[in-house]
């Protein structure tokens, strides 16, 4: 029965993504205004607090506020750096980790609404016959540090500086001001407030303009490139800090054919070339979102697996691969215009 509904891991993941898109974007409206924003308030996905109907909040807005309002202020007063000050932040991180522990970076590949929106746009791009722009191994190396810069400067550094009084108060949540998920999720609820740029203060205006321009770029770029924003998302780097601490893992065994094959590299939406060349720890790269496409498109039995506490949840297999490539190429090009309906029969 389940196999009929979810014939592939990709189909299962897409269903989870759509359900989570509704939970993270409209969850508050469906389940009650007060109830669902209490789920974690530290979700490892870009679930935006500016969305009035969101089901939960992203860890980044919480950490920015705590650095701005609590830690920064306390540091500058140099008197109350006590557990009372740090406890809220520790609780945030602990809450985040309680969720993260079970799914690891699958929050990026399965839950994040911004990831889902980009994937949907990419699918539209395939239908429209747009070209696929990929990052070469050299180019992707240049892009990768940006996510760490985004985390250290926008999500952590500036809010702390603002709290200490070394930066303008408007820099209390600079990442949120440029986050494309803020615009995407609020627009999905027909709320146009966030797309209107703040004009009151220069810093707000600059950040707002930058955020809108980035959002516009991501929307169009996603038609011709896979997950353009995910590559520089500070949550990707934040989650990467914890990815070795979760029992949910991507595991790859060494195999002779890997050097010549490279299909898994083509299937990877994050252009992680290491997945084709490396094995062991190196194959579970910091950019991995645990989407599972590499495992789906690996033509050899159990070379790539997704494991939880050492138990295989999904493993590559030749038979599965043969079926999968009949439906969709590793790059995501559908082989049939009505894949969904055909599979349901």
């Amino acid at each position: 029965m389940l196999k009929k509904i979810f014939p592939t891991l990709g189909r299962f993941r897409f269903t989870v993504q759509i359900v989570m898109l509704f939970v993270t974007v409209y969850g508050g409206a469906l389940l009650g205004s007060y109830t669902v924003d209490r789920i974690s308030q530290a979700l490892p996905s870009l679930s935006c607090a500016f969305d009035k109907t969101t089901g939960d909040h992203c860890i980044l807005i919480v950490s920015q506020h705590q650095l701005h309002h609590r830690i920064g202020e306390a540091l500058v007063k140099a008197q109350e750096i006590t557990l009372k000050v740090f406890v809220p932040t520790l609780i945030s991180v602990a809450t985040f980790f309680a969720f993260f522990f079970f799914l690891n970076k699958a929050f990026c590949g399965w839950v994040c609404p911004m990831g889902t929106v980009q994937e949907l746009l990419y699918r539209i791009g395939r239908r429209l016959g747009r070209p696929l722009n990929r990052f070469s191994p050299d180019n992707v190396e240049r892009v990768r540090p940006v996510k760490w810069l985004m985390l250290l400067v926008l999500a952590l550094g500036l809010p702390l500086m603002a709290g200490m009084g070394f930066a303008a108060n408007e820099l209390g949540d600079p990442y949120c001001q440029v986050c494309p998920s803020r615009l995407a999720t609020t627009l999905l609820t027909a709320d146009t407030e966030q797309i209107a740029v703040r004009t009151g203060k220069n810093i707000n205006f600059f950040l707002g303009a930058l955020g809108n321009a980035m959002f516009g770029f991501v929307v169009i770029a996603a038609l011709a490139a896979r997950q353009p924003f995910c590559r520089i998302c500070p949550l990707l780097s934040w989650n990467a800090m914890f990815q070795r601490l979760s029992p949910m893992r991507l595991v790859k065994q060494q195999h002779d054919k890997c050097e010549k094959c490279g299909v898994c590299e083509k299937a990877c939406p994050m252009d992680i070339h290491e997945i084709g060349r490396e094995h062991g720890k190196k194959a579970f790269h910091e950019d991995c979102t645990l989407c599972g496409r590499c495992a789906e498109y690996c033509p050899d039995d159990d070379v790539i697996q997704i494991k939880f506490f050492g138990i295989k949840l999904f493993g590559s297999s030749r038979e599965y691969y043969k079926q999968r490539v009949k439906q969709e190429s590793p790059e995501g090009m559908p082989k049939n215009r009505v894949i969904w309906l055909k599979q349901a029969k």
Binding site: Y34, A196, A213, K260, P330, M333
Partner: protein, 300 residues
């Protein structure tokens, strides 16, 4: 919306009730609070941060003679679920309980056959705070105006928005109840509850150069400027008259100091920046590989 004259008629009793009254024994401090000047004659509960601490808030009743403020937390069964906060010269001190979250605040005055209640909500930021629905649903007074819902964290009442409130009497929704709205910026209007006892109030966009607003919301407001409003309902029953007011702060409209034209302009600019990606010519190695080719390659 009904006429202003209807509103004056509705609340003429409230104005009469505001006539100076002798202080009751033991209520000198409360009476002091009552004597503070206010922008309305309706009962109010004002909240202000207790110094630099985020753990305490001072509650100041205005236009009502009360000797205490009742505080209900979102964890009603807790030891801090229902607290009676004594009033002193500064007001009543509400300390943040471990559970944090939403608090319903109320002050009550009963003089002869007149019962007056002031009510407001205060929110202490706290992760994992209890769902406040039970706190809002629980009957606390005879006549009540209950937000449906109250703005949650990262949200607030704002001008030019519609918000719903449930009007209850003895715990039951009241149909066709007139509810008056007054704002600190001078707007006065009257609204009527529907068949479910819910009144939908449109908060007026009444800020101007003179009423530019003050900072609202404390840590929740994050420097947002705004003003105050109060909703009030009056009802006579069993020889008594009940007047209940609910007050809160509201901010400027969502698009104040925002430009949607510029926002769309910058979004478009970003889109244009990505257009070359769409127009890029397909190179050979960009073409999606056919499954047969992939198979052959893999077999090789």
């Amino acid at each position: 919306m009904r006429s202003l004259s209807m509103m004056l008629l509705l609340f003429s009793g409230a104005a009469l009730a505001e006539a100076p009254q002798p202080a009751m024994p033991g209520m000198e401090h409360a009476h002091h609070a009552h004597a503070m000047r206010s922008w309305t004659d309706l009962p109010l509960l004002k909240t202000k941060a207790g110094g630099e601490s985020r753990e305490r808030v001072i509650v100041v009743p205005q236009n009502i003679v009360a000797d205490a403020v009742d505080a209900y937390s979102n964890k009603l069964a807790d030891e801090n679920g229902r607290r009676r906060l004594p009033l002193d010269m500064a007001g009543a001190k509400l300390d943040k309980p471990a559970s944090g979250g939403f608090h319903w605040l109320a002050a009550r005055e009963e003089q002869g056959d007149e019962v007056r209640v002031a009510s407001a909500v205060y929110y202490f930021g706290e992760r994992g705070a209890e769902n406040p629905t039970d706190m809002f649903i629980t009957q606390k007074h005879e006549l009540e105006i209950v937000p449906q819902p109250y703005p949650r964290e990262h949200s607030r009442y704002r001008a030019n928005e519609d918000w719903k409130f449930l009007v209850r009497f003895q715990g039951h929704p009241v149909v066709g109840q007139m509810v008056a709205l007054e704002t600190q910026n001078g707007t006065k209007s009257v609204w009527v509850s529907d068949a479910q006892g819910v009144v939908t109030v449109h908060l007026p966009d009444d800020f101007n150069a003179e009423t530019d607003g003050k900072e609202i919301g404390g840590s929740r407001g994050m420097g947002m400027r705004g003003s105050d409003f109060v909703l009030a309902a009056r009802r006579a029953d069993g020889g008594k008259t009940y007047l209940t007011a609910f007050n809160a702060a509201y901010g400027k409209n969502a698009f104040d100091q925002r430009s949607i034209v510029m926002g769309l302009g910058f979004t478009l600019l970003g889109m244009l920046g990505a257009v070359p990606l769409l127009r890029q010519r397909r190179k050979k190695n960009d073409m999606p590989e056919q499954p047969e080719q992939t198979e052959q390659k893999e077999e090789a």
